[in-house]
């Protein structure tokens, strides 16, 4: 009897300990999701709400700008994630077994742009890319190509955004990979070296497979980070030229806070929510399996 009492008491204490987190979580995360789904079915004019069923979604699917935003976002996710994972693997596998000072120098150097934030890096790049007096334009003039306006052309704007985002954020993946690779047991490499394997073979056959779970983790956090790509678009292109670089998050923001189309913006949010949910299933499965 006493024992049972004690365990119910512990149960109650448990709930009390998670209560503050739970409350904030319900108010500022769960409720907005439910409310977002509801709003996506309404037409909203300030205080007036009118139920319109799926009309907001129909509006979206008839808007070419929405499709542009969707395809751009997918293009960004695919290219930026592949570049990030590939380059971070390359850097980490080259340095992980070198001396600690050098490793920390490389790690720090690549991580500095992450630290100073996308806002600051976007501002620098907008200066570097400025057609009239940026360094990039200067180099192209020196090479006899005349001034270039990479952000003003529909063919070049996407690659430039991809490069800037990749170059700013790759440091995080590098830190994670280096840590994972340092953790791989040394005897695995030694055995391969005795067998006469080259470094390239060791990296490809032993190192990369050993950090597979880091690869999954890095891929997913980067997909989700790129999915909500916004700052670089707002500060470098404003979605232009002619909507060529508009993304889902930028489209959502404009609908909500410029055109006052809250219902449509909510519908975009719901679609993005479903995409993230789908993408996070493999990561969740591995987390739950681990338990």
């Amino acid at each position: 009897m006493r024992l049972r009492n004690q365990s119910t008491r512990e149960g109650l204490t448990g709930y009390l300990f998670i209560l503050p987190q739970m409350l904030i979580f319900l108010i500022f995360l769960v409720y907005p999701i439910i409310e977002g789904i509801r709003l996506s079915l309404y037409q909203i004019n300030y205080q007036n709400e009118k139920f319109v069923g799926l009309a907001n979604y129909t509006t979206l699917f008839n808007d070419p700008v929405f499709f542009k935003a969707l395809t751009n976002t997918v293009v960004f996710v695919v290219f930026i994630v592949i570049l990030t994972v590939g380059f971070a693997l390359f850097v980490a596998s080259a340095v992980f077994d070198k001396n600690a000072k050098y490793v920390s120098f490389i790690r720090g150097t690549y991580y500095v742009p992450v630290m100073v934030s996308m806002v600051v890096m976007s501002m620098v790049w907008s200066f570097l890319l400025n057609p009239a007096n940026g360094l990039i334009s200067y180099f192209s003039q020196e090479m006899g190509l005349g001034t270039v306006n990479l952000l003003g052309k529909t063919q070049t704007v996407l690659p430039v955004i991809i490069f800037v985002t990749f170059a700013t954020n790759v440091g995080q993946a590098i830190i994670l990979y280096i840590a994972a690779m340092i953790g791989v047991p040394k005897d695995l490499f030694e055995a391969a070296e005795v067998d006469g394997a080259s470094r390239w073979q060791v990296i490809r056959k032993i190192l990369i497979p050993s950090v597979k779970s880091s690869t999954i983790y890095i891929t997913i956090i980067n997909i989700i980070a790129v999915l909500k790509i916004f700052v670089v678009i707002q500060l470098l292109t404003g979605g232009g030229p002619n909507n060529a670089s508009v993304t889902l998050m930028y489209y959502l923001y404009n609908n909500a806070f410029k055109y006052n189309q809250l219902g449509v913006a909510s519908a975009v949010g719901v679609i993005m929510f479903l995409i993230t949910l789908l993408l996070s299933v493999p990561q969740l499965r591995s987390l739950i399996k681990e338990k």
């Binding site: 806002v119 003039q141 909500k228 591995s286």
Partner: protein, 281 residues
């Protein structure tokens, strides 16, 4: 034997070559920041000069004086500091309590609730920005520190990171404290919290930086000029009528320096914290 040495040589060449590439790219990735910093020290005509001065010919701090005179940059810096600091302390308090419960206390639905918390980590709060904005509006929290802070506390990041640290503490310690007659709350505060200090340090740094660099939510919620964070305020310089690039670069430098300092001082915690958050092999 000769075959082996041969192989060893080839291996080293590949290794040296890739490290050279890594090193060169590392230096290149610092260049934009070098350019940012040196441009901020030039005057308005030198900064756009072609061919450019690779190092400012005359160094001027006028742009910095301008920033602090024409913009409430100090106020923005305070806002960022306050919002990031308070959000992070709240994340630590509610996160440590919940993580302790998930790790050490038994209650019905514990695993299910934990999984729900963790799944929420994958959902960026930005996609729910419309309903979130309307809710904070209902609470009268637009243009207020409350509105800038609370949505940042809804993250399960603290729970996720600290649970691993609590899991690693020996159960015997907690039981001993309980046998000594200490209540759950005192055990948590006096015995368990001090042990997970390294986790709290890592969480503090990582979360602080995350909130400091947060952009979209702060852009939406802090609409008055005096309620902007340093990031949002600095970004408005891009649309500023002042065409001087050196002035904009000075603003960006002001926004960059605090985080650079934090990183140089606490580099160790970053690696620790980030890897604690990553999936274990």
């Amino acid at each position: 034997m000769s075959h082996k040495t041969n192989n060893k040589k080839k291996m080293e060449r590949f290794d040296v070559l890739s490290n050279a590439v890594v090193f060169i790219f590392a230096i290149c990735s610092l260049f934009p920041l070098y350019w940012l910093f040196t441009s901020s020290l030039k005057n308005s005509s030198d900064v756009v000069k072609m061919p450019p001065d690779w190092w400012p010919r005359t160094i001027t701090f006028d742009n910095y004086v301008d920033i602090f005179k024409s913009q409430p940059a100090l106020r923005w810096a305070f806002n960022s500091l306050f919002v990031s600091g308070v959000s992070t302390i709240l994340v630590i308090v509610v996160g440590a309590m919940a993580a302790y419960a998930f790790s050490k206390l038994k209650f019905k639905g514990r695993n299910l609730i934990f999984v729900i918390f963790i799944s929420s980590l994958m959902i960026p709060k930005e996609i729910m920005i419309v309903p979130l904005f309307r809710i904070t509006q209902e609470f009268g929290m637009v243009n207020s520190y409350n509105g800038m802070i609370w949505p940042n506390v809804a993250t399960a990041f603290g729970v996720f990171l600290l649970k691993g640290f609590f899991d690693a503490t020996p159960n015997a310690l907690r039981e001993a404290s309980r046998i000594d007659g200490a209540g759950e709350w005192r055990t948590f505060l006096q015995i368990m919290l001090p042990i997970v200090k390294p986790g709290i340090g890592a969480l503090f740094i990582l979360n602080f930086v995350q909130v400091w660099n947060d952009y979209l939510w702060q852009l939406v919620i802090g609409q008055e000029k005096s309620m902007k964070t340093l990031m949002v305020g600095t970004a408005t310089l891009m649309q500023d009528l002042n065409p001087n690039f050196a002035y904009k670069m000075a603003g960006a430098t002001v926004a960059a320096i605090p985080m650079l300092l934090i990183f140089l001082l606490f580099q160790r915690y970053f690696t620790q914290g980030m890897t604690a958050g990553a999936v274990k092999e």
